[in-house]
């Protein structure tokens, strides 16, 4: 592999951009050790707290979303921070740093007051941690105690709390994990920047409610006949996470660790192109194991090589110049839908979609071949999303002499 996958994030060198997110997969040193052996560059140990913090878990705490036969399009959890307090986590940090000196051992922390944050930082630094992530973003359970996303939803509280942590940290970079449950996530990142903290992680889970049992009327997950809102992760939240990363990257000069719906190296590459320097993964690791790192690194390296890049650093932020406000989008150069008659399987799905969701621009005759009327087609882009065949229904310039743009 000739490509250099390493990145530097907040002054810390990662052998590749892939980091295990603070989650069940990083809740003890044995699991993290297996992750490191599989090839992960770093791990953020599951969020810990001072010994006096009571962590009262409710079970079951997870439920998945299926769409047709596709399982786990999204995962909801009502898990809380780790039941393992700082006394155990500092031991894990020592062991992991000793056994894996080249890997990045990070810890995630959450405190109820200034003294707790300071104590957590002091003890983790003493244990030799490489990076500290602060969760200002857990959307369930913690906000009721004034923690988690209760902090992250207020730029003022974010700045104040981040400053406590940053001031306490003598040696180790501090990053703040942000919540998408906020009107302007870039404002939260700006608050982090003002605090002096070193970077941000975007995003924590998206608050949601996964569904309702139609027989018992109890929403999922059913905890003794009741349920509550949870945090949604998995492939479904990737667009939200990409948007958040782009908004932060465009407005704030601060290192970003991206997370939210990363399943393949393609997802990871998208986050890097939008300005992230590292990519955290959780749900896909929980589902298919630490071994998913193999195709993440192999696929990313092959992609970079195919595109003529020598390192990950070269692609970071490369998509950002193409992100503008809606008013800045060009209005000329109309496109039209085109059907490849060789590929069309005569299903008529695009016909219905354009008829009832578009501009009645697709004709469907007795031969069942979809034909686009370029006078009526405005190039809205909906029909290609419905076509079951790759590269059959595409957008392109209007045929010569056809279409409104040409008339």
């Amino acid at each position: 592999m000739a490509v250099d996958l390493s990145v530097v994030f907040c002054g810390v060198k990662f052998e590749n951009p892939f980091v295990l997110a603070a989650a069940p997969s990083t809740d003890n040193a044995d699991m993290v050790a297996r992750g490191f052996e599989a090839g992960w560059a770093g791990a953020i140990l599951k969020t810990t707290s001072v010994e006096s913090e009571v962590v009262s878990l409710a079970y079951p705490m997870m439920v998945g979303l299926d769409i047709d036969a596709r399982r786990l399009v999204a995962l909801e959890n009502i898990d809380l921070i780790s039941g393992r307090h700082i006394d155990e986590v500092e031991k894990d940090v020592r062991r992991l740093k000793k056994d894996f000196p080249k890997k990045v051992v990070a810890a995630s922390i959450m405190g109820g007051k200034k003294e707790h944050w300071e104590e957590l930082v002091r003890r983790l630094e003493a244990a030799g941690v490489d990076l500290i992530e602060c969760s200002f973003s857990c959307p369930h359970g913690m906000p009721e105690k004034g923690m988690g996303s209760a902090v992250g939803q207020s730029p003022e509280l974010t700045e104040k709390t981040a400053r406590w942590v940053k001031d306490a940290a003598k040696r180790v970079p501090v990053i703040i994990k942000l919540t998408p449950q906020i009107a302007d996530i870039a404002a939260a990142a700006e608050a982090v920047k003002r605090s002096g903290a070193d970077g941000v992680t975007a995003i924590n889970t998206v608050k949601g409610l996964m569904g309702v049992d139609l027989d018992t009327f109890v929403p999922y997950p059913n905890v003794g006949g009741h349920s509550t809102y949870g945090g949604i992760s998995g492939p479904a939240i990737k667009p939200v996470a990409l948007r958040c990363v782009a908004e932060i990257a465009r407005r704030v000069s601060i290192p970003i660790s991206a997370t939210g719906g990363v399943t393949t190296w393609r997802d990871a590459a998208e986050f890097l192109l939008l300005g992230a320097r590292t990519v955290q993964v959780c749900t896909e690791v929980m589902r298919h194991g630490f071994g998913v790192i193999e195709d993440l690194t192999d696929g990313l390296a092959n992609y970079l090589e195919d595109k003529g890049f020598a390192s990950v650093e070269e692609i970071i932020g490369k998509a950002l110049p193409h992100v503008v406000e809606h008013s800045q989008l060009p209005r000329d150069g109309k496109v039209r839908a085109h059907v490849d008659p060789e590929k069309c399987i005569r299903c008529g799905v695009c016909y219905v979609a354009c008829r009832d969701g578009g501009h009645q621009a697709i004709e469907f005759g007795p031969d069942r071949l979809a034909r686009v009327d370029e006078e009526k087609c405005v190039g809205c882009g909906f029909c290609p999303t419905t076509c079951p065949v790759a590269d059959c229904l595409t957008l392109g310039p209007a045929s010569a002499g056809k279409g409104r743009a040409a008339s």
Binding site: W265, R266, G289, G291, D298, G299, V389, A390
Partner: protein
């Protein structure tokens, strides 16, 4: 009638179909499909890469276990191997692993995408696999899939490798008896070419006899024997020497070399099979290939004669179905007793005299033993009789190398494929330097291409002292991702 056969090399999966198929893979822990693959291809790992669009990575995973990944994607009986074990067979049906492998190979290897579906795409093996740094020499006898697989493994470890091939070109069975409608010659040429181009010496037209064997045993660190079997068996029935009675291996080779679905220009059939009646004797996969090839050659009528029933027939169900689809008729519980012709004993065959059989107690193979029913003889007309009775052991090579052999004449080998060379194999003054291994049909009596490739790999790794790494599970990793 030729177009009724559905097993031709077709377009294969389109990328979006592959994505949908890959999306069904469960990525099983300790994946059963990997255990079903003789070469131990890490199936979930390559499917994951197909799903992520990492085509080169997918091809690499396949190649690391099977240097004939493209050939095997076309000829592997996947429903008998990996797909038979697939956990998804209990859901909507097994994942189409063979089809995914084919697309991964075509898109992920050098020139594969440009070459397009059904075209050849050799592995990205590099021009030369790295000098002769190992300071070791190997002689490979036989340039079929087993021999070439062994040769590639040793070349990639820096061995000095020489292959001795009896025919005029490398490829072995791949370019000999496998019908071209299943395995196009350009696929074989590309894969074989990529392997040979890694810096090995290839000596074609060389039959290794006793004297040459002595030299190889004395001068090499390893000798890997991968010659294949000794040719088609005869029935012993009177008239078998008549023109028009041919062995299946010869018939299929002629058809393949003609690059035509017809058997043309042969003296004993009068050329094209149009208007001819063909009888195929035997019930194995080779018999099915011969029957389909004859049907595609426009024979008027193709009849398979088998002495047991469909239940005992060794041909795989898919091959049987293929022969039926080609319009072949089957006569069960029938055995030829004489091949009859017009006039003299050397006159061309005109008919097969048969006897009906009854099944009795199980024989050594565990199948019911057929016994002739006295007085049940009858005759069927035939202009061409193809004898597909399996191939006998290769006595020539066993004797040349002085190998210990079992009752069936097959070399005795240990689990790594290592053979025993008898003390008298070398004349006085010669020192037995080489470790001798057997790979492919020569040792296993005739099996799949993928098994030959796996045995070649196994022998090479054993020769290189890596025996401990041979278990497919260990090679493949735990769950492939």
């Amino acid at each position: 009638m030729t177009e009724r056969v559905t097993r031709d090399v077709s377009v294969g999966l389109l990328p979006h179909q592959a994505a949908a198929e890959a999306g069904r893979c469960l990525y099983c822990y300790d994946a059963p499909c990997v255990k079903g693959c003789p070469a131990g291809v890490d199936v979930p790992a390559f499917i994951r890469k197909v799903g992520s669009g990492n085509w080169r990575g997918a091809a690499r995973v396949i190649r690391e276990a099977n240097v004939f990944g493209g050939t095997c994607a076309l000829v592997c009986p996947t429903e008998e191997l990996c797909e038979k074990e697939c956990s998804s067979r209990l859901l909507g049906g097994p994942i189409s692993i063979g089809a995914l492998q084919r697309l991964a190979w075509e898109r992920g290897t050098a020139g594969g995408v440009k070459a397009g579906a059904g075209r050849g795409a050799g592995a990205d093996l590099g021009a030369d696999a790295g000098g002769t740094a190992a300071g070791k020499r190997a002689a490979i006898v036989g340039a079929g899939p087993a021999g070439l697989s062994a040769a590639w493994e040793l070349r990639s470890r820096g061995w000095d490798v020489t292959i001795y091939e009896a025919t005029d070109k490398p490829g072995g069975q791949l370019d000999w008896t496998i019908p071209s409608y299943r395995l196009p010659p350009e696929v074989v040429a590309a894969e074989v070419g990529a392997i040979v181009a890694t810096g090995m010496k290839l000596r074609t037209g060389v039959r290794v006899g006793r004297e040459a064997a002595e030299g190889l045993l004395a001068e090499n660190d390893a000798v890997i024997l991968a010659t294949g079997l000794g040719g088609g068996r005869a029935s012993g029935a009177p008239g078998e020497g008549r023109p028009g009675v041919v062995k299946a291996e010869e018939f299929l080779a002629r058809a393949r070399q003609g690059r035509s679905t017809r058997v043309t220009g042969t003296a004993d059939t009068g050329g094209d099979l149009a208007g001819k009646r063909v009888a195929v004797v035997g019930g194995g996969n080779t018999a099915m290939d011969a029957a389909v090839t004859a049907a595609r050659g426009r024979a008027t009528r193709v009849t398979v004669l088998y002495r047991r029933t469909a239940r005992e027939m060794p041909a795989w169900p898919r091959e049987y179905r293929g022969a039926l689809a080609a319009g072949t008729e089957f006569l069960w519980l029938v055995q030829p007793v004489a091949f009859e012709g017009a006039g003299a004993a050397d006159g061309a065959v005109k008919a097969v005299r048969c006897v009906r059989m009854a099944l009795g107690a199980p024989d050594a193979s565990g199948r019911a033993a057929p016994r002739p029913i006295p007085g049940s003889e009858f005759t069927i007309e035939a202009d061409l009789v193809v004898m597909a009775l399996g191939q006998g052991s290769n006595q020539e090579i066993v004797e040349a190398f002085g190998l210990a052999a079992d009752k069936a004449g097959r070399p005795v080998v240990d689990p790594s494929g290592r053979a025993q060379v008898s003390a008298g194999a070398l004349p006085a003054g010669h020192v037995l330097k080489a470790k001798v291994f057997v790979a492919g049909d020569l040792g296993n009596g005739g099996a799949t291409v993928v098994r030959a490739v796996a045995e070649g790999k196994r022998a090479a790794r054993a020769a290189a002292g890596e025996l401990e790494r041979l278990a497919p599970r260990e090679e493949a990793g735990s769950n492939g991702c």
